[in-house]
Amino acid sequence: MTASHLRQIASVAGLLALWQLLIQTGRLSELFLPAPLSVLASMWDMTRSGELPWAVLVSLNRVVQGFVYGAAAGVFLGLLAGAVRWIEDVLDPWVAAVYPIPKSALFPLFLLWFGLGNASKIATIAIGVLFLVLVNTTTGVKSINPVLLKAARDLGATRLQVFTKVILPGALPNIFTGLRLGAGMALILVFITEIEATKAGLGFLLWEAFQLLDTRKVFAGVVTFGLLGVATTWLLQWLERVGCPWLQRST
């Protein structure tokens, strides 16, 4: 463990301890800021009662489905748009028009079209993920050194082989950038879509707790969202290491 690690641990532990102390000495009200240990205790209770795991499961189901649909469509369209000129021309105005819209603003529309169930939430998440992945995938294809395409053709690759053996692996690093951004977006959108028109999920749990002024529960929700974020980041980093072994720096 390096000095840098020690300072990082000291920073977190120190602040948490100070926070706990301020509440135990009565300088801060638990109504606004529950003590770290109370949050932990509340998370433990909610886990034992099954409330928290169920909420996580419901939300994860929406996140994973939305992410997979959005990412698959984004990679597919992004590769095509990057490689084939007329497909880019067809897609470009739509990307330019829809990309800047906050995807949460589409949720009311999707509620109207797909109803109050899971479909509208999954669609909102999928759209949010799709555009991030699509734009990054297209950038990835365009960043491929053209001489590599020439070399592949010179060695006898067909158009399809150029696509699968050069364009796809060449764009992969940027695709992973898109997936990482998309995963962050998926978590934001699942929270927003669970505030209204649902009776389950982590976002619902958090929002309901806020309305009952159960600050400990609100914190438990926030911390759980944080843990989910960390877990997805780790998972995607691992996938990238497996998928792009050539990007690892030699030491």
Binding site: D154, G156, K165
Partner: protein
């Protein structure tokens, strides 16, 4: 005769201005089996364009290109690019097997072939490294092995050593000569280096710039191994230097 170029021409259109620029003009040339043919000329003389046309990566604007021995079609060439053009996501082995792989050669067969080529270009032990883990000289050896893996009759080199330091270049020049001798392939080699032309070539095609034309074809009968300090070599260098100097001045005046 292995390859016949008849009255080739290539013009580029500069889209912004609508100008037509002539890169090659009425170029006629025969390439003979087993020769080390050097295309020598200043930048802008269209020698890289000529190589791309021979490779089938560019179409000529006029004229004809034929491979008489092969009945006219079928790809007989492989290119070694100046900046290596290795696939960064493939290991040394993965790069070398690319050609046979896309042509449907079985895995066992292509890997066996790759092993032989790895031995030929002295890359044993680096099979599983990625290109960014290799030096420039090693990368160019991989590019050469990859080009050889398709078993082409003609190897096309586009200034393959230009990006390397002087010492690595010397070593690789000797390696190229050894591999040329061992494989018996025909080499068509683009360079702007006089020294390289005199050291390597069995024929030197001296090209002019704007438009690219053949100025003169020089048969190099000097004995091998050649040394740039030898008297005959020095005389040839002087002579080519004078001719090329004229061309460079002309090209820069335009």
């Amino acid at each position: 005769m292995l390859l016949a170029l008849r009255d080739l021409g290539k013009t580029w259109l500069i889209k912004r201005t609508g100008e037509r620029v002539s890169a090659l003009e009425s170029l006629t040339l025969d390439v003979h089996p087993g020769e080390f043919l050097i295309l020598l000329g200043p930048s802008g003389c269209g020698k890289s364009t000529l190589l791309q046309i021979i490779a089938g990566l560019e179409a000529p604007s006029s004229g004809e290109i034929r491979f008489p021995a092969a009945g006219g079609n079928g790809k007989l060439t492989s290119m070694v690019f100046q900046d290596y053009a290795l696939f960064p996501w493939r290991t040394v082995l993965g790069n070398i097997v690319f050609g046979p792989e896309v042509r449907g050669v079985s895995r066992g067969e292509r890997e066996e072939k790759a092993q032989r080529l790895i031995d030929l270009v002295n890359l044993r032990g680096t099979e599983h490294r990625y290109p960014h883990e290799l030096s420039g000289g090693m990368r160019q050896r991989v590019a050469l092995a990859r080009a050889l893996a398709n078993d082409p009759q003609i190897l096309l080199f586009d200034e393959p050593l230009a990006a390397l330091d002087a010492m690595t270049r010397r070593v690789l020049q000797d390696e190229l000569l050894r591999i040329w001798g061992e494989t018996g392939k025909t080499f068509v080699y683009v360079t702007h280096s006089l020294q390289e032309a005199v050291l390597l070539g069995s024929r030197i095609v001296l090209m002019t710039a704007h438009p690219g034309r053949i100025k003169r074809i020089v048969d190099v009968t000097l004995a091998r191994p050649r040394h740039l300090t030898g008297r005959a070599e020095a005389e040839m260098l002087d002579q080519l230097d004078a001719e090329l100097g004229e061309e460079v001045k002309r090209a820069m005046a335009l």
